[in-house]
């Protein structure tokens, strides 16, 4: 049977992708950011996941206001890299895993999550920046990726609790898949940031630190935090952090297993307008 071996959490700041693509990683401004992912790149090479289930949000690239799915699962064989207005990032296209993705969709919908199934979707920096941070600049990504897009653009976004419960349903789905796959689940976005209005530039290190602490030790309690706390404390775009709860809900300890090992933890301010947070949890 397939199993979830680890979860990875990371910001997906577009400027990080630009810094990488433009060869600026050694600049003093960017150097500390990329240093925080050095361990992670080696770790991923060693772990050799067969599939990454990658939770992210689209930023008005694949989905306009014409159609706004709360949860969209990508079941296509491949996904092109979106042109976000300055040409597509020079990174490999994303190879999907239609069979596992279809299986997850079938299982999770039967568990009363009202997914939208998507067979044609360009993936934006929300997905490609985490891949770049974790994999560097390879010719091809190391394994297939199942893109899972969450609406965090138009309010109301799904609640933290809903995301956490969805993670549990995704775990159940993956663990009922017949092939012995090593699956990782990644939650991306955040940490504190606000991109709009006179309050733009908000960063709340205390909030972010507490969020990381609770994500590790008390995800169930953390999942009860209402939207307004994210907005007030972590900025209007800090709401992206609800997506981390999907990955966390899929871990063993909250489904009757053992506590995970914290393999890596990193926090840095700033990257462009944003606080960068990163965490790796391994199941035991």
């Amino acid at each position: 049977m397939a199993r979830i071996t680890a979860s990875v959490y990371t910001s997906h700041v577009p400027a990080v992708g630009a810094a990488l693509d433009l060869g600026k990683t050694a600049e003093p401004y960017w150097q500390p950011v990329f240093k925080g992912y050095e361990f992670s790149k080696q770790w991923l090479k060693d772990q050799k996941p067969d599939v990454i289930f990658l939770v992210y949000n689209d930023h008005a690239n694949a989905f306009s206001l014409d159609i706004i799915p709360t949860f969209a699962i990508g079941t296509a064989p491949e996904f092109a890299v979106a042109d976000e207005g300055w040409g597509p990032r020079p990174v490999p296209k994303v190879i999907g895993h239609p069979k596992l993705a279809g299986h997850i969709a079938q299982s999770v919908i039967q568990d009363d999550f009202d997914l939208t199934i998507v067979n044609k979707m360009d993936v934006d920096h929300g997905l490609t920046v985490p891949m770049s941070l974790m994999c560097g600049q390879p010719q091809a990504w190391p394994c297939p990726v199942i893109p899972f897009a969450v609406n965090v653009v138009q309010y109301p976004v799904p609640s933290g609790r809903r995301c956490y419960m969805l993670g549990k349903a995704i775990r159940k789905a993956i663990e009922s898949y017949d092939e012995p796959l090593n699956v990782q689940i990644w939650g991306t976005g955040g940490m504190s940031h606000q991109l709009q209005g006179p309050r733009a530039g908000l960063i709340n290190k205390e909030f972010d630190t507490a969020f990381l602490d609770r994500l590790i030790a008390d995800p169930e309690g953390l999942s009860a935090m209402p939207h307004i706390d994210y907005v007030r404390e972590a900025g209007s775009e800090g709401i992206e952090l609800v997506m981390w709860l999907i990955a966390r809900g899929a871990m063993s300890d909250v489904n009757g297993g053992k506590p995970p090992t914290v393999r890596h933890r990193f926090y840095h301010v700033p990257a462009s307008n944003t606080a960068v947070g990163h965490l790796i949890l391994e199941n035991n």
Partner: protein
Amino acid sequence: MSLDKPYKDVPGTTIFDADMSRQGYHLNQFCMSLMKAENRARFKANERAYLDEWPMSEEQKQAVLARDLNRCIALGGNIYFLAKIGATDGKSFQQMAGSMTGMSEEEYRNMMVSGGRSAEGNRYIGEKK
């Protein structure tokens, strides 16, 4: 609407909800059209003429022409859509965000490097700073 909007008391912040989305629909879809190089070229060649192809309000068009992102947001624009205008203009996300704060580009950048804007005094409208 009588749904709770607890986010109305956060200073300097507009939550893009169903009401804002309805108001800003054409403004945001105009922004989305700028994802095509051809449309960017047409917009740059004659901004007003391009805007007039969209059923946006005059206020929305003026806000776009003035690159007044705060005004765009008040009129239903969403930052991820408005970012396409910035991309067309060759502005970074940091330049765009900074332009809404009343700070100079350098001031904003320095604030971010120094740890960003504090949440202290920025949680509630009218809160003492």
